[in-house]
């Protein structure tokens, strides 16, 4: 037994099983790679790879080089050598940084108004900080890569399998992968621990699908059963070049000069996991970045938030302002300079205009003016906040950390916290207008539970589904309480709930079914459940408990149900299945085996699956289960006893949001089966193009005249809190579109369950499942069908629009199916489709393909110009997630494709509420306030310099000391603004959730509209005017100390600077609405730092500090006038804002101001009752405006009551 390691039970199974037979049908049906014969393309362009595997294949074809790629991967952006140039390049792609770089370079010329070092220092600080951040991030990625690269696997070397690191793998190596290990590279499967060389693979990391996939090697290699056999093995594999197609593979393997074609069936992809198989052997064919998963992972679209895009425009605006004032300054400077020398007579002789440089040459005043323009551009550079980008990046990083650390978004069951994968989009989370959501796995758990069944016309199962609950709530039924209690009654204490099983009915449980009428039908029903599937049992050796590995959660639910009802499937052998059954006659457990003759696989076209079994008495049965639409037409015509009733039950189940399947069987005659067997085998073995059709035909022959047993209903349960969350999001004014692959009925029912649809909403249904279209489709003229379908869809859309236009005060829901969507998304129809959809409160697209999901997302994104958020969990949602402005992945289990493509991942849909309403809103309000404030403080600073310039005939002399200026953005004013960006909360989390309407500030962009931005800028100008004229006016030429000294340029500059620092930091103090200790430290620390700087820099030897030497200690500190002026100027600079803010919050409050008031009022007197009523009123108000989501609310009655009280409602102040 090569490799050893398995338990005894498994060895036994391995000996016996020949699963290839069981799966033959399935495997045979796998679509081949390409339409034409792929083998012929091998060796051609795109198919050039040659792999020499094993010891004996040492004759590389001379014309082709061996691929030599290493298996180590690197997802880092930089390496040691490229880091500097690459990251610098990244930095200087920003307009602002280029500007600063140019100024820094010019600072080395005579043009510079300040010393070069002080010009370059802030740029260096900012660039270095950004680069350090980049480096740290890249280092983390590197750590991850190293971890992966150093994972261990077993490689065949020197006649034995030896431990090796992943990164040391080479193409052509033979590796042995053991159970539950990841494949280290793309492998061709040679053999496995099973005799027929199958293995099970979990591809969750690739496509998010949790079910196991079956892979099987070629027969020629399947005999390589142990380690030793590889010493004599050699093969040449020729195959396609590395590409990103996960589901295709073309190649052949040459063993002993004999080529055998390879298919995806033999390909084991890197990052998928070996399951249920002791070990496999494989040949490495693609390594490292050549592997399909890496080829797929390469391109991650980078997204930028709208705010950042707008910020660029502000920067451009400021740049043009900068140019403008520099230009004005240059003109005045030019005039003044020209005047200095008239007819050989110098005017300002002390400037020596007669012996001057080009920069001040009166004879060439025009050139001087042009050069001065450059100087001015440098001087007023403080308009552009140099540290803006880095500050925003730091803030966003910290915000993302807060999202990651939010304990309320942590899912305990799966041990998953929320994870903001990019921090670029934090504030965008606060501006979402439309959410496009997947259904399965996103709104629902994607874990099926067997909840009801109908057997022989009797409905069993007393469980209540979420939909039924919702319906009951909708009707305000008092039954809810009873129903809730009911659940508890059915769940005896101490009985641990079984996953996948939520069925309660004392009539059939615990063997009681034997006493029911039609007990023989019930027996057959249960048996069918236990036999008709493709699951594999796993028996826990110690406890004897049986669990199942199934291809889909539905299947598992059936087998589990059968087990719980007394038909325990415990063993699958190569030929059959074994059950523990309850014998109705003896009342004892008996073991029975059924020989499986054929499995007719499920697929979406057949919508059914069947097995043909022979029982111990030699009778042959066909067991079949499938969708009601296909099954009912296959029932025996003579059989009608409970068909009607069953159909009715199925409808009820569908209404309750359940997935239904019809179960039926038939006993086969000996010769009938023999005929089928012959025909089926022949079809399977044929190689002609119509092979699939022949197989279909053969199966069809058998699957008819079935006898109905009953129907099952499984529930794909809604995730916890979904209706409430959707409700909240709807109240927040967010539109929600559901894009699902489900059929229309299910989608509608789920819509009700999750409160997306409600009673009294008018449904506009656009479908092509109408009689005339179906009739038309029977004909074969494709063009005619297309045209008719298109016309039909457009007509339906237009009708819907008319309906909406005609109605007043009604809300609509749009439901459209995938086929119609195809036409609705065409260029000429999508405009009106979007109009219609926007007019509706809720939109559900059913039966939509992944492509359509992405297209719809793009339509909404580009059509409305609003921010869209797509949320999904599976590989089919990736397109949509990448297309949307923000992609959110549901990370139920570890590492999924949707999560990989997403910007933020959360564990449960309901966390979206907190993510958007709390974090989104906060981030949005923080970032927008932060940017506004940034511009304000820089304009304040810049304009004081400009005003001073006016008093120097625009000579370009800086008002402030060089180093003081350089550190303005970096030291004295940066921390408070970062603290605000990280910590400020306009409204606490509780109130964000309580008043979801607050969220609308984001989508309507109230906090970052031009009026607000320009307002802040103007305020900056006003502050600058106040600061400059008050400080210059108070301290003009008279003595400012008792000992008679007068101000000089440095001391006046330092005084004005002090005022600026005070004003700007104190401004922050009155802007902040959440004043923590950190804010205190940052704000007052910023001011303190300025004084520290004054003292410290002044104390440095005058060689360095020059005229700034001891300005503070010697001159300013001892002068009362300095302090008195500081107090006056800083206070005066703040009065305009304070007045404005007071008037604004009193009379024209924003929504968050209103909530602040409310909170403030309630803090004093917790009048919870009034508060509650108020909250209700607010909610009702919001619901009216969006039209979605009230359905499932318990407080509907309450609302009606409130509604009658409200006799006047202003339009929302937000608009």
């Amino acid at each position: 037994m090569a490799g050893g390691g398995g338990g005894d039970g498994r060895r036994r199974r391995r000996r016996k099983m020949q699963l290839s037979r069981l799966y033959s049908f399935a495997c045979g049906r796998r679509p081949s790679v390409a339409d034409d014969d792929p083998g012929s393309r091998i060796g051609g362009p795109g198919f050039s790879r040659v792999v020499n595997a094993g010891a004996l294949a040492q004759q590389p074809p001379p014309e082709q080089l061996l691929p030599t790629g290493s298996n180590s991967i690197s997802t880092t952006k930089y390496n040691v050598a490229t880091f500097l140039p690459k990251s610098l390049f990244e930095q200087f792609r920003r307009v602002a940084n280029v500007y600063f770089l140019i100024s820094a370079c010019l600072a080395y010329t005579k043009l510079a108004p300040y010393t070069s070092a002080s010009a370059i220092a802030p740029l260096v600080i900012v660039i270095v900080a950004t680069m350090v951040k980049e480096a740290v991030e890249d280092w983390r990625r590197n750590q991850q890569d190293t971890e992966v690269n150093n994972r261990r696997t077993k490689v065949f070397q020197d006649g034995a399998f030896q431990d090796a690191k992943w990164k040391d793998l080479r193409v052509g190596d033979i590796v042995k992968v053991e159970k539950d290990d990841f494949f280290p590279a793309d492998l061709v499967l040679l053999s496995s621990s099973y005799e027929d060389a199958v293995c099970y693979v979990e591809t969750m990391n690739l496509d998010g699908e949790t079910n196991l996939k079956l892979k099987q090697s070629l027969e020629v290699t399947s005999n390589l059963q142990d380690d030793e056999s590889f010493s004599s093995f050699g093969a040449v594999i020729r195959c396609e070049d590395p590409n990103a197609h996960l589901y295709s593979f073309v190649g052949n393997i040459e063993i002993e000069e004999q080529p055998h074609p390879l298919s995806p069936q033999q390909l084991l992809l890197r990052d998928s996991k070996l399951r249920n198989t002791e070990f496999v052997y494989g040949v490495v064919i693609f390594t490292g970045h050549d592997t399909k998963v890496m080829q797929n992972a390469m391109k991650v679209p980078s997204k930028r938030s709208n705010i950042e895009k707008k910020m660029d425009w502000i920067i451009y605006l400021l740049l043009s302002l900068l140019v403008l004032i520099s230009f004005i300054g240059s003109i005045f400077f030019g005039i003044a300079t020209r005047d200095d020398l008239r007819d050989g007579r110098t005017k300002r002789w002390y400037l020596r205009p007669d012996d001057t440089t080009i920069y001040f040459d009166p004879k060439k005043a025009a050139i001087s003016a042009v050069l001065h323009f450059l100087t001015a551009m440098m001087l007023y550079g403080y308009f552009i906040p140099i540290s803006l980008y880095i500050s925003i990046e730091i803030v966003k990083l910290l915000q993302a950390r807060f999202i990651n650390q939010d304990i309320h978004m942590y899912h305990e069951e799966t041990d998953t916290p929320a994870h903001a994968r990019t921090s670029n989009l934090n504030e965008e989370l606060g501006q979402v207008d439309t959410i496009l959501t997947d259904k399965t796995g996103t709104l629902t758990c994607n874990s099926m539970e067997f909840i009801k069944c109908s057997i022989a016309g009797t409905a069993y199962g007393r469980g209540i589904t979420a939909v039924e609950r919702a319906m009951a709530k909708r009707k305000g039924s008092p039954l809810i309480a009873d129903m809730d209690n009911g659940i508890e009654r059915f769940q005896p204490e101490g009985n641990i709930a079984v996953k996948g099983f939520n069925f309660m009915d004392e009539r059939v449980m615990n063997g009681n079914w034997v006493n029911q009428p039609h007990s023989n039908v019930i027996e057959m029903f249960f048996r069918l459940l236990a036999v008709c599937h493709t699951c594999i049992p796993e028996v826990d050796e110690e406890s004897g408990k049986i669990s199942y590995e199934a291809e889909s959660p539905d299947e598992a639910a059936f087998v589990v149900a059968a087990r719980e009802l007394g038909f325990t499937f415990y063993q699958r052998t190569q030929t059959g299945v074994s059950l523990h059954e309850l014998d109705p006659l003896s009342g004892k457990q008996v073991d029975r085996s059924y020989k499986i003759l054929h499995v007719l696989e499920f697929n979406s076209a057949r919508k059914r699956m069947s097995v043909i079994v022979k029982d111990e008495e030699g009778k042959t049965f066909l067991f079949s289960k499938g969708a009601d639409s296909v099954m009912f037409e296959r029932l025996s015509s003579s059989e009608g006893a409970y068909r009607q009733v069953t159909q009715q039950h199925i409808n009820e189940y569908a209404d309750a949001g359940l997935r239904t399947l019809v179960l039926a069987y038939r006993e086969l005659e000996e010769d009938e089966y023999a005929y089928f067997d012959r025909k089926f085998t022949a079809a399977k073995n044929s190689v002609s193009a119509d092979r699939d059709e022949k197989i279909e035909e053969a199966a069809d022959l058998l699957e008819r005249d079935l006898i109905l047993l009953g129907a099952t209903a499984v529930e794909d349960k809604l995730q916890k809190g979904v209706p409430e969350c959707i409700d909240k999001l709807a109240q927040a004014g967010i539109k929600i579109w559901v894009l699902t692959g489900d059929k229309m009925e299910t989608a509608i029912n789920i819509g009700y369950a999750c409160s997306l649809l409600r009673q009294g909403m008018k449904q506009i249904t656009i479908t092509l499942e109408t009689a005339d279209i179906i009739a038309l489709e029977k004909g074969s003229d494709k063009a005619a069908i297309t045209e008719a379908s298109k016309d039909n869809v457009v007509r339906q859309i237009n009708e819907g629009k008319k309906l909406i236009n005609a109605s007043v005060g009604e809300t609509f829901a749009l439901i459209i199916d995938g086929k119609s969507l195809t036409y609705a998304l065409e260029d000429d129809a999508k405009g009106i489709f979007l109009d219609l959809a926007i007019g509706c409160g809720s939109v559900i697209c059913c039966r939509s393909s992944p492509k359509q999901k992405a297209l719809v997302t793009r339509l909404v994104k580009t059509g409305t110009g609003k921010v869209t958020l797509a949320i999904g969990d599976g590989a089919n949602d990736v397109g949509m997630i990448q297309e949307a402005d923000i992609g959110v992945g549901i990370s139920g289990a570890e590492g999924m494709q949707a999560v990989m493509a997403s910007d933020v991942s959360i564990a449960q849909f309901r966390f979206l509420e907190r993510l958007l309403l709390v974090h989104g809103h906060w981030c949005y309000s923080r970032i927008s306030s932060m940017i506004c404030y940034f511009f304000y403080k820089n304009i304040t600073f810049g304009v004081t310099m400009f005003l001073y310039e006016a008093h120097t005939t625009f000579s370009g002399q800086a008002f402030y000391n060089d180093w003081a200026m350089a550190l303005y953005n970096v030291l004295f004013t940066s921390l408070p603004v970062i603290a605000m960006g990280v910590f400020d909360q306009d409204v606490s989390a509780r109130f964000c959730l309580k008043y979801p309407m607050l969220y609308q500030e984001g989508p309507q962009n109230l906090l970052f509209r031009w009026a607000r931005i320009l307002g802040w800028m103007l305020y900056g100008v006003a502050s600058a005017v106040i600061i400059f004229f008050l400080s210059a006016g108070s301290l003009q030429y008279q003595a400012f100390r008792k000992s008679g000294e007068v101000m000089d340029i440095e001391s006046l500059g330092a005084t004005a600077y002090t005022c600026v620092v005070w004003a700007v930091n104190a401004q922050m103090a009155i802007t902040v609405s959440y004043f923590t200790l950190i804010q205190h430290i940052c704000i007052w620390g910023g001011i303190a730092l300025w004084y520290v700087f004054l003292v410290a820099y002044g104390a440095i030897t005058p060689t360095f500090s020059t005229t700034f030497f001891m300005v503070f200690v010697d001159a300013l500190a001892g002068a009362p006038s300095y302090w008195v002026v500081t107090l006056l100027v800083s206070a005066a600079a703040l009065i305009p804002y304070f007045t404005y803010a007071a008037i604004k919050t009193w009379f024209f409050p924003d929504y968050h101001n209103k909530i602040q008031w409310l909170r403030h009022r309630d803090r004093g007197q917790p009048d919870s009752n009034a508060d509650l009523e108020f909250g209700q009123a607010l909610r009702q108000f919001s619901v009216r405006s969006t039209g979605v989501g009230v359905s499932a609310r318990r407080d509907a009655v309450e609302l009606v009551r409130l509604n009658t009280k409200v006799y006047h409602a202003d339009p929302p102040q937000l608009s």
Binding site: A497, K720, T1103, A1131
Partner: protein
Amino acid sequence: MNSHAAGTSNGGSGDAGGAGAGAARRNTRMPKYSKFTQQELPACKPILTPKWVVSVFFIVGVIFVPIGVVSLLAARDVVEIIDRYDEACVPGNMTENKLAYIQNSSIPKDCTRTLMVTKDMKQPIFVYYQLDNFYQNHRRYVKSRNDAQLRDPSKANKTSACEPEKTTADGKPIVPCGLIAWSLFNDTYIFARGNENLTVDKKHISWKSDREHKFGKDVYPSNFQNGSLIGGAKLDPNISLSEQEDLIVWMRTAALPTFRKLYGRIYVDLKENDNITVRLSNNYNTYSFGGKKKLVLSTATWLGGKNDFLGYTYLIVGGLCIFLAFAFTLLYFIKPRKLGDHNYLSWNRHPAGR
């Protein structure tokens, strides 16, 4: 809430504390609970309630008005005598061509002015000269100096940035170099009250730090004003720079085009109606750029010299604050929108009578 079939749905316990206990057991990736990470730090949440707004304005007003009054009183206490002499000192025959007058060194520049003391002046009395329209803050001018050279005798050759007053014609470094020093003010004043000479004390008119650290004790002027074009005052090459206080004062360039510089102090009390005779030499050329020259005698208070601006601004700002405080109070009473009340949030329901 949605307590559907127990078992599968029990996620995210709302109680963070409870969840925290669970973390120790099995949840390795669970975020750690702290007030910081959950953004629940204790904080003050200031809100502009009427009470706050009115009291802030009122308090600011109440503080500012007295400061304004005190400042104004201080400024009024200062006695200041200003005498513009640049026009008056030009001989009658040269008023049409002042430039020729000032540039012609053969014309004597002496001039006598009589000042009348308007009010009692307590010593010390500060003597300033005031220049108008003189751009000491011009970039070319401000930069035209070398601080290293002024401090360290071994660095006399460091004359960068001093163009065009860098070196003499034969290449010797000028100490002190640069335009600022070159254009040193050179009018002089001699004061007398009747027959009694009033000594002007020119000691310690500069900043202490400048004298002691910025201008070297062992740095002596050399090659100064030796060029063809003489700017302003000449310096005694035998006196070290740290004692050339006029230069030190001059080198502290003024921020604005109108400025005063301290000339000296008179330690004598002056009486009202005293006549002060000033014998001055009117050397400095302000005529070419149309600047004014003024002689200022002034006392100083704790706040400095005479300037009502500060006091008035304080009064205005303080008054504005008090006005705003009243305005907001009025608004609050006339238009009592109950902040935080339901009515306030666009909901016109039965008014809560508060």
